[in-house]
């Protein structure tokens, strides 16, 4: 009797699953969004989603993918890796999505990848920059993609920019000793910069949350150097800039995408924010038509200037739709192959192809700031 009941339940369950699948593949293409909409890094997730929604609106207004409208299935992973994994499973098995966009942070995205490989559904992140996201010692992760450059690439690009464009030879690095992001950037900068012929005059450290950097600044003041590199976030970088300028250090100060916030200039004061150069994913000063159109459309919808996460979110959705179109509207394995074969995708954050490690091959944008304003941007490669 008991066994008969189990069999009956199994049949019912199977029936439900099958009907679920049939509903999925009809007149819409479903794309899952698994983002940090609340919790510690909610701003990243929310900004990315603003970009994604703008892109999907445009795709649908232009007739969708092969006549099929795109439908977003959006969940909040609460900035939690375990929650992101659960939601990924739900999106892939119950909602039957073609692919999943997000999460935005490396930790949560890495947690999602095994689920993607098990279910053979591609996952794409717009902002997971840790080096080992799509590839690690055991090889490339088949169903994982991203559209942003990784941390060590940024450090390498900035080192080249410093040596070739700024023509500086001796650099002081001030890094956040408690952050993998900062240490990774410092290491790749250090390696490349010494390789091309520069020297690192000193390496100093702080811990995120500190506010007084005067001791370190006084210490380096008498040293012989012609630029400072701060791989870190704007909260501390803004204060370091302020205190360094107050002590009369006027050499160029370089950073990475962690500098990308208006708060940086608020912290340092506009007068101190001179000769600042930082790498970023995108620049609003870019004059490419795709960038100009994006900025205009974004301003119309949200009434503010887009930031790098908005731009990455926009590219993320466009990249996925491009892949789905080339895979003939299919998700799963066909989409994975289409994404891996992407050539010369023209995005807001640059034109890129996907390499064998599922990373985009693209240049960083280096933004120059004078008097607290972004005055110019150049694309810098390796």
């Amino acid at each position: 009797m008991k066994r008969a009941l189990i069999v009956l339940l199994a049949v019912v369950a199977l029936g439900l699953v099958l009907t679920g699948c049939q509903q999925g593949g009809t007149d819409t293409v479903k794309i899952g969004v698994n983002m940090e909409l609340s919790g510690a890094v909610a701003t990243y997730g929310q900004s990315t989603v603003d970009g994604i929604e703008l892109a999907i609106d445009e795709v649908n207004a232009a007739g969708g993918i092969d006549g099929k409208q795109v439908e977003l299935v959006k969940y909040d992973n609460k900035s939690d890796a375990a929650e992101a994994t659960t939601l990924a499973t739900k999106l892939m098995t119950e909602d039957d999505v073609a692919c999943v966009l997000g999460p935005a942070t490396s930790g949560a995205f890495k947690a999602e990848i095994p689920v993607a490989n098990d279910n053979k559904v591609p996952v794409i992140s717009g902002s997971a920059t840790a080096d080992d996201v799509t590839v690690d010692a055991s090889g490339v992760k088949e169903y994982a993609f991203r559209i942003c450059f990784n941390d060590s690439y940024q450090g390498t690009a900035m080192a080249n920019f410093a040596y070739k464009n700024l023509k500086v030879k001796k650099v002081v690095i001030i890094l956040d000793n408690a952050s993998d992001y900062s240490k990774g950037l410092a290491k790749s900068f250090n390696d490349t910069f010494t390789e091309v012929g520069g020297t690192i005059a000193a390496e100093e450290a702080f811990v995120a949350g500190e506010t007084d950097f005067n001791a370190v600044i006084t210490k380096i003041k008498d040293k012989d150097f012609d630029a400072i590199f701060i791989p870190g976030y704007y909260q501390e970088a803004g204060l370091i800039i302020k205190q360094a300028r107050a002590q009369g250090i006027d050499v160029p100060i370089m950073g990475a995408d962690g500098f990308d916030s208006p708060t940086l200039v608020e912290l340092s004061g506009a007068a101190a924010a001179n000769d600042i150069y930082f790498s970023n994913h995108y620049s609003s000063l870019d004059e490419e038509s795709v960038v100009v159109d994006f900025i205009k459309a974004f301003k119309e919808k949200h009434d503010k200037d887009p930031d790098a996460f908005n731009a990455l979110g926009y590219d993320l959705a466009k990249f996925a739709c491009d892949g789905i179109a080339r895979a003939g509207g299919e998700g799963g394995e066909a989409l994975k192959d289409a994404l891996a074969g992407t050539e010369e995708f023209k995005g807001v954050t640059g034109t890129f192809s996907v390499d064998e490690n599922h990373n985009p091959v693209k240049a960083v944008v280096v933004i120059e700031m004078q008097d607290g304003k972004q005055v110019s941007s150049v694309r810098a490669g390796l």
Partner: protein
């Protein structure tokens, strides 16, 4: 030599902030034997009150400091009445855990109200933004003001405790609360007055830090609070001159370690000092040696 003098200036301004916060710890500990962990969050709230005074209500600097002091005083006394007074006769660990609870409540309550992001004080212009050179040593007006106000407040505090009637009451309650009550001292209002002083000082420190570093967030009290606590223990918890000496020592040690050794070991050295003090001289530099009666 110039570099050394510059580091001394750096150490003095950092040490002043630690000393101001340490005073609050040490006074409350002296009078009710409680480590008031919420103290560093009152300092944070002082910084936020100052922020809103300067940005939303556009008050001048002096009024801002006074408003922040007043707000912190009200908050400090309220916390004492609501959270600590009912526990006065329970075990010390109960009060300690309550203090940690109040601290977390303030930190995350504030995060809920104003958001977790860093906020910046408006840019200060005029006299407060001046810098001047002594030889090749650069000193800013803000640094002078921070050190000046700290020293002034400590002298004032010393005067209140040693020379006034209420100060006498405070010293009496510190020695023996029951005997003080029998002598006709109002113990409750004396304790409240201690909280008033400590919280007002924290409020001033909050605004000064906001102006000086230009960066505030709901968790800004945590690390300086910890360092100030070490300063209080170093100087001898319960001793007011001890808190001053402790604050300046910790500030100076931090700066000198980053300046002449390795900035990565700064915090490690500070906490190592705490451990050493607790092993070698648990009462601190100027602490009273209390004999337990058997």
């Amino acid at each position: 030599m110039d570099q050394f003098m510059q580091q001394v200036i750096n150490g003095l301004s950092l040490g002043s902030i630690y000393a101001l916060i340490a005073l609050g710890y040490t006074m409350v500990y002296g009078i009710i034997n409680l480590i008031n962990f919420a103290h560093c969050d009152i300092y944070m709230i002082g910084a936020y009150v100052g922020y809103f005074c300067l940005t939303v209500f556009k008050l001048d600097f002096v009024t801002t400091v006074l408003v922040a002091m007043a707000a912190c005083t009200v908050l400090g006394v309220t916390i004492e009445k609501v959270a600590y007074k009912p526990l006065r006769n329970s075990s010390r660990i109960t009060a300690l855990i309550t203090a940690i609870g109040v601290s977390l409540f303030l930190e995350y309550g504030m995060m809920f109200l104003v958001g977790p992001n860093v906020r910046t004080y408006p840019e200060i212009t005029g006299l407060l933004a001046e810098k001047f050179n002594i030889g090749s040593v650069i000193v800013s007006t803000q640094q002078v003001i921070i050190v000046g106000i700290s020293l002034l407040l400590m002298v004032l505090l010393q005067f209140i405790v040693k020379k006034t009637r209420i100060g006498k009451g405070m010293r009496a309650v510190t020695l023996d609360a029951d005997a003080a009550r029998l002598m006709g001292i109002n113990v409750d209002s004396t304790i409240s007055f201690t909280f008033v002083l400590g919280s007002a000082f924290a409020g001033i420190a909050g605004v000064l830090v906001g102006v000086y570093y230009n960066s505030i967030n709901p968790l800004m009290g945590y690390l300086p609070g910890l360092k100030a606590f070490i300063a209080a223990v170093f100087g001898g918890i319960g001793s007011i001159p001890g808190a001053m000496i402790g604050g300046y020592t910790i500030g100076m040690v931090e700066v000198m370690v980053s300046g002449y050794a390795n900035s990565m070991y700064k915090d490690a050295v500070v906490f190592a000092i705490l451990i050493l003090i607790l092993i070698v001289r648990p009462t601190g530099l100027l602490g009273r040696n209390v004999r337990e009666k058997v």
